[in-house]
Every structure is written in structure tokens, then in C-alpha cells.
């Protein structure tokens, strides 16, 4: 059997049989599912039990204005502030809303007194009622009928439409595209870091175990490095695919099991990361919107690009991580080399936020071409649509990028793996690269 293949096989098998791999494989989707499901559960079980709120209104403006809701029972009380405070302490009310006599006829402050932490729901409800009442009073004092103001309010809904080269129009759903771009960028980012550093640790392990000399007397250092890099890539791919499969499985099981207790609107709402209280018609609208969105995004292209940038970015960085691993004696010494290598990656991740605001701007364009940032930035840009020539250029550059880093890394690697007990400087690395 081919030796690189043998190495790949060992790297792969020893890793996927590790307990930590199996634990991570099951823990990952559980966390993901929890992330999707917990907000829904929390939303449905929120604020049980009624709150009893007493109102001590010294102005007398708000009599009858506080309407009790499903969860909050308002009652108007008389008496001094001190007496009523005592009643709060005795547990007669959950909270006391105290509206003092206004200074200069303008009540600006009210106090919400409660034994426990005041509920934000009560607080915002009270604030809205007081605010509306005072605004109305001011409007009336100025001779304006509040009804007129209310009627003049308008809701405008803007649908953004993207005109492409062929002149056909597509509605653009920026939020969804941002989310899609972000998620794939995050996955690429973490994959590179997680499995890139595994490559580095693997190299350091071989070095500190001193097995490296036996290995390189059997195979070429390049074969060893490539076997390791590709083996670990397959580990990452396996883990990722298992996560996706298990997440869908868990999510399916969950929605099936809780179908009765959960309103479909709530599930949809959490999926869309929107508020929970959507009405049925809005839900229907959203469902049709999702269909719309799916039809506007070029999924096959995104999937292909995701697979490419996922692997291409990993290969580019993994070679560098392997070079770092070969140059040091233990993990603690990696710091000085880790920074410059991870900097472009982190930069790409940070900048991706700005890129979503202007996915066709010069910053986005350049960073999606430079191989060190393109795996992240191109994934952010893709859902917004990227001209094919830019995509092809970026792919070409990434391929030449990882050929270059692999070539450089191999030169450092073959010297570094045999060096012990020496503090390596950049000058030293440069010398290794130039060895024939």
C-alpha cells in the first residue's frame, strides 16, 4: 500500500477511535439542538403566576388607566407611601408603583417598589402607560387631539429587490443571507483552528516522542506531513458530517416529541431568530418567505464553495501549523509563531461583520481574493451573489496559496523535526527554507 495512504489511515483511525472524538461527536449536536430548542422552551414557560401590583397615584391622572393583563393585576390603593411600603414588605402586593405629585406639573419619575427584583415586564408596561398618558395630556394642553397623531402613524414595509445582469429581479433577504454567510464563515473558522492545531499537536507529539527519526527513515518527511494533514482533514470532515446528521436527527426527534406542546409559530419564530409572538398569518407569510429565500439563493454553488473553502482554507493553514509544530519542542513554545499565522484568520473573522454591510465593496473584494482570508470572507459574500470571475480567481488563488504554504512548510518541516533544544527564530526558519 502507498505509504502516504498508510500514514493517513493511521492518523484517521487513531483519532476517530479516541474517546474525546466520540464524546465531541455527540455533545456537539446536543449543544446545537439545545441552542435551537431552549429559547423556545423558555418562551413558552415564561412568567407563570400573576403579579399583584398596587398603584399609589398621588396625581390622580391615572385612575382607570392601568388595565390588568393576563399576568399582571393592577389595583389602586390609598394611604401614605410608608404604609404601602410596609404592605409590600408584608407580602400583600408583589410590587408598589408610586407616582408622586409632579414638580412644575410634569411628573417625570415614578417608583416601582418591590421586595424581590422588579419584573421587567411590569416595569415596561407601567412606563408605557404613564408615558402615553402624559404625552396625551401635553398634546391636549397644546391643543392637539391625540387621535389625530395616532391616525397619522404609518407603517412602511420596504422590500429590497436586487437587479442582476440579466435584468431579472430577485427579492433579497439580507438577514437570511447574513445569517447563512456568517454560519458558514464561523464553521470554516473553527474548523481551521480546531483541526489545524490538531495537526500541530500531532507533529509536536511525534517530535517529543522521538518517533520522528524512525518515521523519516522509512518515509519522506513530505509524505509524513501530507499523510497527517489529509488524515486529520478527514477526521474533521467526519466529525462535521456526523454533527450535521445528528443535529437534524435530534431536531427531528425533538419537534416530533413536542409537537403538541409547542406552537408551530414559536418554532418558526425561534428559527428565524425573531420574537415569539407572531400571529398565524405572519407565520404563513414567513413560511412562504422562507420558500422565496431558498429559491433566491444558489444553494448548489454555496455548498460546493463551502466544501472547497472549508478544505482549501484548512489545507492552507494546516501546512503552516505543521511547520510551527516541527519548529518547536513543546506546545508552550508555539506562541511566537501562532500569532502571525492566526492573525489573518482572526482578521477575516472580525472583518466579516463589515463585509455583510457592503458585500461588494473593495475591502470585501480584496479579502475574498487573498488566500489567507478568502475562506472566511468569500463564504460571507457568497449568499449575496459573487460574479463568477471573482469566484474563480479566488479559488485559483487559494489553490496556489496552499501549494505555496505546503511547499514552504515542507521545507521548514523536514529540518525542524530533527532539531531539538534550540530556540528557533524567524531568521532560522528562513535559513531552513533556503536549504537545498
Amino acid at each position: 500500500m502507498n505509504k502516504t495512504l498508510l500514514i493517513l489511515q493511521r492518523e484517521y483511525l487513531t483519532r476517530v477511535r479516541k474517546k474525546s472524538f466520540i464524546v465531541m461527536t455527540f455533545l456537539g449536536p446536543l449543544l446545537m439542538a439545545a441552542l435551537m430548542v431552549v429559547p423556545v422552551i423558555l418562551a413558552t414557560v415564561q412568567d407563570v403566576g400573576k403579579k399583584n401590583v398596587a398603584i399609589l397615584d398621588e396625581t390622580g391622572w391615572f385612575t382607570g388607566k392601568f388595565e390588568s393583563t393576563e399576568n399582571i393585576l393592577f389595583s389602586e390603593v390609598e394611604g401614605s407611601l410608608a404604609d404601602n411600603k410596609k404592605k409590600v414588605n408584608d407580602g400583600l402586593f408583589d410590587a408598589l408603583l408610586y407616582i408622586p405629585l409632579p414638580e412644575f406639573n410634569v411628573p417625570a419619575n415614578a417608583e416601582l417598589i418591590s421586595a424581590k427584583q422588579a419584573s421587567p415586564t411590569v416595569k415596561s408596561l407601567a412606563r408605557n402607560i404613564i408615558k402615553t398618558e402624559i404625552e396625551n395630556r401635553k398634546l391636549l394642553a397644546a391643543g392637539i387631539d391625540p387621535q389625530v397623531i395616532r391616525e397619522s402613524k404609518t407603517t412602511v414595509n420596504i422590500v429590497s429587490i436586487r437587479l442582476d445582469e440579466t435584468g431579472s429581479e430577485t427579492k433579497s433577504y439580507d438577514e437570511v443571507k447574513i445569517a447563512l454567510g456568517f454560519i458558514s464563515a464561523i464553521v470554516v473558522y473553527f474548523f481551521i483552528f480546531l483541526f489545524g492545531s490538531q495537526v500541530m499537536r500531532g507533529v509536536i507529539e511525534e517530535k517529543t516522542n522521538r518517533i520522528i527519526e524512525v518515521m523519516v527513515s522509512s518515509v519522506k518527511p513530505f509524505q509524513l506531513m501530507m499523510g497527517k494533514i489529509t488524515g486529520i482533514a478527514l477526521v474533521g470532515l467526519t466529525q462535521f458530517l456526523l454533527w450535521v446528521a445528528l443535529t437534524f436527527l435530534l431536531y427531528g426527534v425533538f419537534t416530533f416529541a413536542f409537537d403538541d406542546s409547542l406552537q408551530p409559530s414559536a418554532v418558526q419564530g425561534s428559527l428565524m431568530q425573531q420574537s415569539i409572538d407572531v400571529t398565524p398569518t405572519e407565520t404563513q407569510m414567513m413560511v412562504s418567505e422562507i420558500h422565496d429565500i431558498i429559491s433566491t439563493i444558489n444553494f448548489p454553488l454555496i455548498l460546493f464553495s463551502f466544501a472547497f473553502y472549508f478544505l482549501g482554507g484548512y489545507l492552507l493553514y494546516a501546512a503552516l501549523f505543521a511547520a510551527i509544530g516541527s519548529a518547536v519542542d513543546n506546545e508552550a513554545d508555539t506562541q511566537q509563531f501562532m500569532l502571525p499565522v492566526s492573525l489573518p484568520l482572526i482578521l477575516g473573522f472580525v472583518v466579516s461583520n463589515f463585509v455583510t454591510n457592503n458585500p461588494d465593496g473593495p475591502l470585501a473584494l480584496w479579502l475574498s481574493l487573498i488566500p489567507f482570508t478568502s475562506p472566511i470572507i468569500m463564504m460571507v459574500r457568497l449568499p449575496f451573489g459573487v460574479p463568477y470571475h471573482e469566484l474563480i480567481l479566488s479559488i485559483g488563488l487559494l489553490i496556489s496559496g496552499f501549494i505555496l504554504t505546503t511547499w514552504l512548510a515542507a521545507k521548514i518541516y523536514r529540518t525542524g523535526i530533527l532539531m531539538y533544544g534550540k530556540k528557533i527564530t524567524y531568521g532560522e526558519l528562513w535559513k531552513w527554507i533556503r536549504y537545498k
Binding site: L6, I7, R10, N209, R210, E213, V214, M215, S217, L418
Partner: protein, 319 residues
């Protein structure tokens, strides 16, 4: 027919600021045991790494069976590095199989051979244990098996006896001799001179990147004769000084429990043992007579010191 298994010709290896090997040439006859000697940092490991194609020489050429080294040769060489190491988390059997396959042995064949070796070393029960669970000596045994599992023509051992207990050192020596008798050529580096005299047919002594001595153990020892003799004499009435042949001086005088005198004498000039004996016969009754050849250890220390002091370099074994 060429009888040389391995030949290094004027090999030069230069590192950043020192010359590790300066035109070093050695030739190792087939089916011999060749000792590569030298103090720490002399360049032994550099040479061994070049032979293993782990690094490339800056100049010079290395030939295996008359052919310049190439990638296919790695399967003909078994290498036990000075710094031993295995994958700690891997199971012993699995690891041995993996490394054997990397040396080009087919999986079933490797399994078969490993089983035999494990039985010979009485370690069959270790197959499924992780390397980290084994003691250092146990790991060394595994490593030795891994080195020879592909039945290489040339075996290279870098300090093979370091880290073994005396029982295992003997086991190892026996294995080395057995492998040689089966046809393997063995090159090993060491500074354990005792094992050199015991095992080696040829040696080369390297110091500061240069070969300063080369030849069979017998030749070298003869070359470094110090014309010292040990005498065992009965009933010596005269003083020891009185019986000394011309040009000799007394190094040591002892009496043993039988009342016999033990002398060590050395001549200033080249002298044949028979002449010494002839000169002594009329003066004393000789029970024992022996020429003392220097130990490899003495030669080693002497040469290394000499080179350090004078800076002059000789490649001929003469004083």
C-alpha cells in the same frame, strides 16, 4: 565481486556554523559488524542520518551495494536511533504492524513475523497493551523488533545498548550476532568500548567530524602496541630491576598469595615477544608471559586526547 555492503566516500556535512563531517569515508564489508566510534558530538549521528537518507550530504556520496542511495534503499535498511521513541498512545501490536508496513512488509507477512519475534522475546502478552504502559526496557525491546522486522540487509544501531539492563544487553548482543550470521551487515555507533571488542570486526573512529582511525579491531590493537608485557615469575630472589632486559622499565610489581611475582614491564623500542622471552629465560623461572595489547578504550581516549591537544590529524595507526 564487490564485497562491500556500504560505502561512504568523502562525505561532507556542514551545519550553520560548524563542520559536522569533513570528508569522512568508511566502507563496511558485507556480513560484518562495523563499529562507529567517537566521543559525543563527533559526527556519528550525522553520518548515520545521511546513510538513512534523513538528511543529505553537502558533498560526497554514499553507496549501498554499489548503488548511490535512493528512496528504494530505505526498505533495505533498519535503523534504531539513539533517541528511542514510539507512539505512546498506540497499542504495541498495531504500532509494530504499522511501522513494518511503512518499511514495505505486507500486512499478513508482518503479522506472521511479529508473532515469531514476540514469542522469541517472550513478550507475546504485550500485543494489545499501549506503549505508555510499558517500562523503558520493554519499549526498547519492541523498538528493536521494529528495527529488524523487515529483515533488512543493513542494520544501523545508534548506541544500541544504552538503556538496557545487563540481561537484555546480552540478549541484544546475541541477536546482533545471530542477525549477522544470517547475512545482515551491521553498523553501530557506540562509546561502549567493551561491546566494540566483543562484537566488532571493523571500526572507524570519528572525532570532530573527521575520521582518525579505521581498520579491523585486531589490526588497530597491533598498531597501538605499547610493548608492554605481563610476567608471572616463581622464586624471584633478585630484585625485579635486576632481571629487566635492556631498554625495559618496570611499570608494576606485585606478589600474589603463592609467593609468585607479577611484573608489568614496558620496552622503549619495538621489540618482539620472543626476544623478550629469550632475554628473561636465564634470569627467572617463568610461569606466565603475555604481551598486553591496549584496550580499545585506551586507544580511543589516547587518540581523542592527542587530537585535542595537538590539533594535528593522523589517519594512520602509528605513533
Amino acid at each position: 565481486m564487490n564485497n562491500i555492503a556500504l560505502e561512504a566516500e568523502k562525505v561532507v556535512k556542514r551545519y550553520a556554523n560548524h563542520l559536522a563531517l569533513n570528508e569522512v569515508s568508511i566502507s563496511v564489508p558485507k556480513q560484518s559488524i562495523f563499529g562507529l566510534l567517537g566521543p559525543n558530538g563527533a559526527g556519528k549521528t550525522s553520518l548515520i542520518r545521511i546513510i538513512n537518507q534523513i538528511t543529505a550530504p553537502d558533498k560526497g556520496i554514499v553507496r549501498l551495494n554499489g548503488e548511490p542511495l535512493n528512496q528504494n534503499h530505505s526498505e533495505l535498511i533498519g535503523y534504531l536511533p539513539e533517541e528511542r521513541g514510539l507512539y505512546k498512545k498506540m497499542k504495541v501490536g498495531e504500532q509494530a504492524l504499522y511501522l513494518a508496513q511503512l518499511k514495505g512488509v505486507d500486512k499478513t507477512e508482518a503479522q506472521h513475523r511479529l508473532k515469531q519475534w514476540f514469542e522469541r522475546f517472550e513478550i507475546a502478552g504485550w500485543w494489545n497493551r499501549k506503549v505508555e504502559e510499558l517500562s523503558k526496557g520493554m519499549q526498547q525491546k519492541i523498538q528493536f523488533i521494529i528495527t529488524v522486522i523487515h529483515e533488512p540487509q543493513l542494520l544501523i544501531f545508534d548506541e544500541p545498548f544504552s538503556g538496557f539492563d545487563p540481561v537484555n544487553v546480552n540478549l541484544l548482543k546475541a541477536e546482533i550476532l545471530r542477525l549477522r550470521n544470517q547475512g545482515a551487515t551491521i553498523l553501530f555507533s557506540t562509546h561502549n568500548m567493551e561491546s566494540v571488542e566483543e562484537l566488532c570486526d571493523h571500526i572507524a573512529l570519528i572525532n570532530s567530524g573527521e575520521k582518525i582511525l579505521d581498520g579491523t579491531v585486531e589490526e588497530i590493537k597491533r598498531g597501538y602496541r605499547s610493548h608492554t608485557f605481563e610476567l608471572q615469575l616463581a622464586n624471584l630472589h633478585d630484585s625485579a630491576q635486576a632481571i629487566l632486559p635492556d631498554g625495559f622499565r618496570l611499570l608494576d610489581e606485585k606478589t600474589n598469595s603463592f609467593g609468585e611475582t607479577l611484573l608489568r614491564i614496558q620496552s622503549q623500542q619495538v621489540v618482539e615477544p620472543n626476544d623478550v622471552l629469550a632475554a628473561l629465560l636465564p634470569k627467572a623461572s617463568i610461569i606466565g608471559f603475555k604481551e598486553v595489547l591496549p584496550s580499545m578504550n585506551d586507544i580511543f581516549i589516547k587518540l581523542v586526547q592527542q587530537q585535542k591537544n595537538s590539533g594535528t590529524r593522523s589517519t594512520t595507526p602509528h605513533e
